[in-house]
Symmetry: C2
Subunit: 161 residues, 2 copies
């Protein structure tokens, strides 16, 4: 049995207790942008219930062009009005540089990435950088955003000012 | 009290029962790419535990350049080897066209998006499209990928072949 098959088995248990469809627009008008890290269960960390908030996740929780795309769809079509950013301690994005990552790929597969890997060196500063990108985007019209660092050792969120 | 403050209160409860740091690389060597939809609690749908899998999410669960970036970091730096895609019924991405979305934004804020909104018209076909993009990317070197549609009415995953 593959890993995916095992998780499909878990889905049968989930569906057996499922209580039916909720509305499409997020009930709490919130969009969360968080790192893809395996240790971050965003629903549990924030006590979210199904239907509360959009969850956007990528490597680092970066405000990339694609995160902007998702936030614009979230705000314009589905009515979210607040953004909550979650980065975290012990992040993989702190362990390499963009240049070395791109060069390694170039050596292995022949083609150099035409995109920025978005590594960073300072967690709090990267959260501030993300908020600055939100403020600067002409497409994100609702600018209410707060940024946090999740501590993978304690489970706590610390706000970045 | 704002919505964010309320969720920060929930985080105190979460942290009080937190059991300490896990390893950085995903234990099950899995990366999930899913839609940002508020009704999709990926940990619960798949019975994932903290530390099992990377979770990448955006509007539609699309394989965009940023999803490729995240998958490449997931595979090269953190050892994941399987990709699981989750789209879902009643998706917001079925409710508009890219052209009308970009024109609406152009009329409201003056600047036309230079990115594709990635709307689609056929759920199963969009899952297949995503898998094709994975297969075609020179940067994603581990191609093992399966795609599913989550039914927001029943809680069940249906595999797209």
């Amino acid at each position: 049995m593959t890993v995916t098959d095992e998780f499909l088995g878990n889905n049968e248990t989930y569906a057996a207790a499922f209580s039916g469809p909720l509305a499409l627009p997020p009930r709490r008008r919130l969009a969360v942008v968080a790192c893809m890290d395996a240790r971050l269960d965003i629903f549990s960390i924030l006590g979210l219930r199904e239907g509360d908030a959009h969850i956007i996740r990528n490597a680092g929780g970066a405000i990339t062009e694609d995160a902007v795309r998702s936030l614009v769809i979230s705000q314009r079509l589905l009515g979210t009005r607040h953004i909550l950013l979650i980065h975290h301690t012990d992040c993989g994005m702190l362990t390499f540089t963009d240049d070395e990552f791109k060069t390694d790929i170039q050596h292995e597969v022949g083609m150099r990435p035409f995109w920025s890997p978005e590594s960073f060196t300072d967690l709090d500063e990267d959260v501030r950088q993300s908020i600055r990108r939100i403020k600067a985007s002409p497409f994100i019209t609702h600018k209410s955003a707060r940024g946090f660092v999740f501590d993978v050792g304690t489970g706590k969120l610390h706000e970045v000012k």
